[in-house]
Each structure stands twice: as C-alpha cells, then as structure tokens.
C-alpha cells in the first residue's frame, strides 16, 4: 500500500468519524448527513481500491482519471448547495409565520395600558 493511500484512508475515516460524531451529538440532522456519508464512502472506495477510479474513468471515456473525482464532487456539492438554499428559503417562511403569530398573540393579550381587541 502506498503512503498516499494510507493518508487518504486515514483522512476519510477521520471525516466519516466527524460526521458520525455530529449526528450522535445531535448537531447534524441525518437528512443533511447522507450526502456527506456517501461522499466519504466513495472516497474510501477510491483510496482502498485504487484501480476502481481508472476503471470508472475508462468506462466513462475520461482520459485523465483524477478529473472524474473533481467533476463528480463538484457536481455533488453544487446540488447540495442548491438544496441548502431551498431549505433556507423554507425556514425563512416558517420564521416569518412564527413571528407574525407571536405578534398577534402579544396583541391579543393586550398592550400594557389597554386591551388590544
């Protein structure tokens, strides 16, 4: 096994461990962790079984195998970022609704001097 392989495997295992730790501690929801686990596992496969990347590159007709990694992970991250923007927009709406409800409830309880309604 090459030196770089060992480094890659250790790095990926560390990365997967970090993700697992975040999930266990409740800092990361499982639905947002799936993509990271998948990416970690892919990296692990590539680093343990080095030939797999060449085989895959051959299959897709990619001349320079490492570029496959770049395009693949670039694409994955791109999709995930769009997903996060969608989640963000949804939360924006939810927070707005909550704030409006709170304002209404505060108003119903009455402003300090007078009943509101």
């Amino acid at each position: 096994m090459d030196k770089i392989q060992i480094i890659a495997i250790v790095a990926v295992l560390f990365f997967l461990g970090l993700i697992a730790r975040f999930i266990i501690k409740g800092k990361l929801r499982t639905e947002y962790s799936i993509i990271w686990i998948l990416m970690g596992v892919m990296f692990l496969v590539f680093s343990v079984w080095r030939k797999s990347l060449d085989l895959l590159a051959n299959f897709f007709g990619v001349y320079y195998a490492p570029s496959l990694i770049f395009i693949f992970f670039f694409f994955m991250i791109f999709i995930f970022l769009i997903h996060l923007s969608v989640v963000n927009s949804k939360q924006h709406e939810q927070i707005k609704k909550l704030a409006q409800e709170i304002a209404l409830l505060k108003g119903e309880k009455g402003n300090p001097e007078e009943k509101a309604i």
Binding site: H92, I95, K96, A99, Q100, I102, A103, L104, K106, G107, N111, P112, E113, E114, A116, I117
Partner: protein
C-alpha cells in the same frame, strides 16, 4: 413611546420582518378580526390622512377591490425624484405588459383593500419591496384595482424602504419576483 401615549392598538413583531412581513401582519390582524376594510398608509408623513376619503369612497361604493392612491394622475403634491419616477414607471410598464392592468404609481403604499383582497393578501405578500409585485399578485387573483389621485407629501421622518432605488439589485429582484410570480400564478392558477 408615542404609540402608548396615543392608546392605539398596535402589534409589534418579536423580530424584524421587514416591510413585507409587517404589512402582511396587518392584513392577518384585519382578517382575524373580520374587518371589512384594511388601510395601508406610510407613517412617515408621506400619506396625509386627510386624503383617505379619496380612497375610501370608491372602495365603499364597490368600484374596485383595491384602491391605490396615486401621485401621478393629477400630478399634484410631492412628485419624487427623476430616478425614482423612472423606476416607478418601469414597474408600471412591466405590470401593464404582464397583466394588462395599468397602475401609474406602482410603488405607492397608500392603499385601501376590501375583504376579498384581505383574504388573498394573508396567503401571500412579498417580503421586500412588495408594492409592485402585490399588484401582479392581486390582478392574477382576479381582483380589481383602481388608482385614484391623492396628494402626497415629502416624508418628514425616516427613510424609504427603497433606499437605493437605482441599485441594480432592486430592479433585478423585483423584476424577477414579478416575472416568477406571474408565471407561477399562470400555471397554478
């Protein structure tokens, strides 16, 4: 402080929701209390309450579901700056192109709504720079909009929610919003 001295009913958001979310809160309040009419008026002195009857009259006579107070029909009172007028005109033209409805003062926030308009506004109201987009929304909801001449003043306090009217961001954002809202409503009804 002044609000409390006036002993008026008021609502305040726990967090800043911007102009759109706050105005919509007013509509939600109106709907919850079964109000017949909701009035939207700037509190910075631009919209004199003495002009309100000009909006109320056509609304109460069922001339339209939404009445918009306009500076540009009789061209009286404060007319805003050239650049702002250019922007207002642009959105007015965009609205006319998309819906066929021509509202000259597309960014005017001096408006009166009846019950059917309130019912739609609690479902959707744009967050930022809501005025031109709201026209598209209400028109697509088959509500009728009427523009009446009112005299407005220059604001005496505060700043416009459209602080950089000339900024590309404002134009692009409202244009995009308007286009997408129109497409969405054309496809979903």
């Amino acid at each position: 402080m002044k609000l409390k001295e006036l002993k008026a009913n008021y609502l305040s958001n726990p967090i800043n929701l911007g102009i759109g979310g706050t105005v919509q809160l007013g509509f939600i309040y109106a709907a919850k209390n079964n109000f017949d009419v909701a009035i939207q008026m700037d509190g910075d002195g631009q919209h004199p309450p003495s002009e309100l009857h000009k909006l109320m009259e056509p609304l109460l006579n069922n001339k339209a579901d939404v009445i918009i107070g306009s500076r540009f029909i009789d061209k009286e009172g404060f007319q805003s700056s050239v650049l702002r007028r250019f922007g207002i005109d642009y959105f007015s033209k965009l609205n006319k192109y998309l819906t066929g409805v021509s509202i000259k003062d597309s960014t005017s926030g001096y408006r009166a709504y009846n019950k059917s308009a309130i019912k739609e506004l609690i479902k959707y109201y744009p967050d930022e720079y809501p005025e031109p987009e709201a026209i598209i929304y209400l028109t697509n909801k088959k509500l009728t909009i009427m523009e009446v001449p009112v005299i407005m003043n220059e604001r005496v306090a505060g700043v416009s929610s459209i602080r950089r009217f000339t900024s590309i961001y404002y134009m692009v954002k409202v244009s995009l919003n308007t286009l997408f809202l129109h497409l969405k409503m054309k496809t979903n009804g």
